[in-house]
């Protein structure tokens, strides 16, 4: 399979990339790791006239510790994330999930910014950044960059709240509170390792061992990653015994319009969402110390 013809641009700065994007508008696609875009181009589902390659923009590739949390550049690869000591310390669930993406060849190329911009319904990181309460920074050629809270980022199938002319530049992850445990559980497609369902949990316990704070992100189940609001509400303030976790996890697919395709029926995805949620909650709670 061969993509349709396009013009290729390899800027070296964000400013240059933003200018190219402003010039080519809807005819352009940004290329990061290419492991979502290039397959789409090979299938001719995407036929951009201009491809702007961000891999040469070195200012977009970094992992920085920022007041206990993290700041990660958009073109930082899954491999860099999963092998980073800073990520393992400040957001272990992100390192865990990045290491579960596809296979090593894909992790060597695929990027966090690409994953969050493409918003694949079966991507792993969308669930994780939702659970981590991340925010996304963007830049434009007119200097109108924004910081977007993750809760308003994923809005539909392969759709985010990014605006025309915006480039995702990085992801910020706040510091985890004391007594917080994190986990990501997924049921993967055997060939692609895409998440048929994936659930990320970030749980903070209080001194009595009750759930003080919780965020749960679900990917794969519906058209885009979402928080499991009912499950979160059912855990908050409670001691996390087995019955409480089981009951809360049972609501994890509530409100999600589960997808049905060749990989799994909607009914099966609903079931997997509950199971993955239960495992992720149990694991996160056991890690909270």
């Amino acid at each position: 399979m061969i993509p349709a013809a396009f013009e290729y641009y390899a800027p070296t700065t964000v400013a240059e990339a933003a200018k190219l994007l402003a010039k080519h508008g809807d005819d352009a696609k940004l290329l990061a790791g290419g492991h979502s875009l290039i397959p789409l181009m090979k299938l001719r589902l995407a036929q951009p006239k201009a491809v702007i390659d961000l891999r040469g923009v070195s200012e977009l590739s970094y992992i920085k510790e920022a007041s206990g949390g993290l700041s990660i550049g958009a073109t930082t690869t899954y491999y860099q994330i999963t092998s980073s000591r800073a990520v393992a310390k400040a957001a272990p669930v992100l390192a865990e999930a990045a290491g579960m993406v596809a296979d090593v060849q894909v992790r060597n190329m695929g990027t966090i910014g690409g994953s969050l911009s493409h918003a694949d319904p079966a991507g792993d990181l969308p669930a994780v950044v939702l659970a981590l309460n991340a925010s996304i920074s963007t830049a434009t050629s007119a200097g109108k960059g924004r910081t977007v809270p993750i809760d308003s980022w994923f809005v539909g199938l392969l759709t985010t709240s990014i605006k025309p002319g915006e480039i995702v530049t990085g992801v910020s992850i706040p510091a985890l509170a004391h007594m917080t445990g994190t986990a990501y559980e997924k049921f993967a497609n055997k060939a692609s390792r895409y998440a048929i369902v994936g659930v990320a949990a970030v749980i903070t316990l209080d001194t009595s061992g009750a759930c003080k704070d919780v965020r749960i992100g679900v990917t794969g189940a519906g058209p885009h990653a979402v928080r499991a609001a009912k499950t979160e509400a059912a855990l908050k303030g409670k001691k996390l015994d087995e019955a409480t976790i089981q009951k809360a996890a049972g609501a994890a697919a509530d409100g999600i319009d589960c997808l049905s395709d060749v990989h799994a029926s909607a009914e099966y995805r609903t079931h997997l969402t509950k199971v993955c949620a239960m495992r992720a909650i149990q694991k996160a709670a056991s890690r909270a110390k």
Binding site: A5, I38, D103, V104, Q105, V106
Partner: protein, 155 residues
């Protein structure tokens, strides 16, 4: 339309005029006639097109040749030195790590990438590393043994 690229492949610098849409796998096979790199699924799942790009194993069916501009690529053809097989190649021979051989170039290159990062992998680490490479005939046991053989020789 054409894009002038210079890529160092197996230590030799090549300069070519290519269309931006040319995939790295096709550049290696059709332009440089290095047909050791196979194309299988063409959808970045099977891994037989794996090559090293700037020190990292990548699936060359999902990389544009222009993305390799200024970079270094190692393919299966670049492993043997002075007529002597690389220990990974010996390993696949000694441990019967192949039957039809179609997946072998990718299996060897992904294992090459593994041994660069982790010279003494456990069996589990080897299995994890080759998870993106499919073998449809001999099975994975002897492939794992072949990589273990190479790791022991590379010490």
């Amino acid at each position: 339309m054409g894009h002038n690229i210079t890529v160092t492949v197996n230590g030799t610098k090549h300069t070519s005029d290519v269309e931006p849409r040319l995939l790295l796998a096709h550049y290696l096979r059709d332009v440089l006639t290095l047909t050791g790199t196979h194309i299988g699924c063409d959808t970045s799942q099977c891994g037989t097109c794996t090559v090293m790009l700037n020190g990292m194993a990548v699936k060359s069916c999902t990389v544009l040749a222009v993305q390799a501009n200024g970079g270094e690529v190692t393919t299966l053809e670049g492993l043997a030195k002075d007529g002597k097989m690389h220990p990974l190649q010996d390993g696949f021979w000694e441990k019967h790590g192949l039957q039809c051989g179609f997946c072998t170039p990718g299996m060897i290159m992904v294992s090459y990438g593994l041994l660069r990062r982790n010279p003494k992998p456990t069996e589990e680490e080897i299995r994890h590393a080759i998870a993106g490479n499919f073998c449809r005939c001999t099975g994975y046991h002897n492939i794992v043994k072949a990589v273990q053989y190479a790791a022991s020789k590379l010490k």
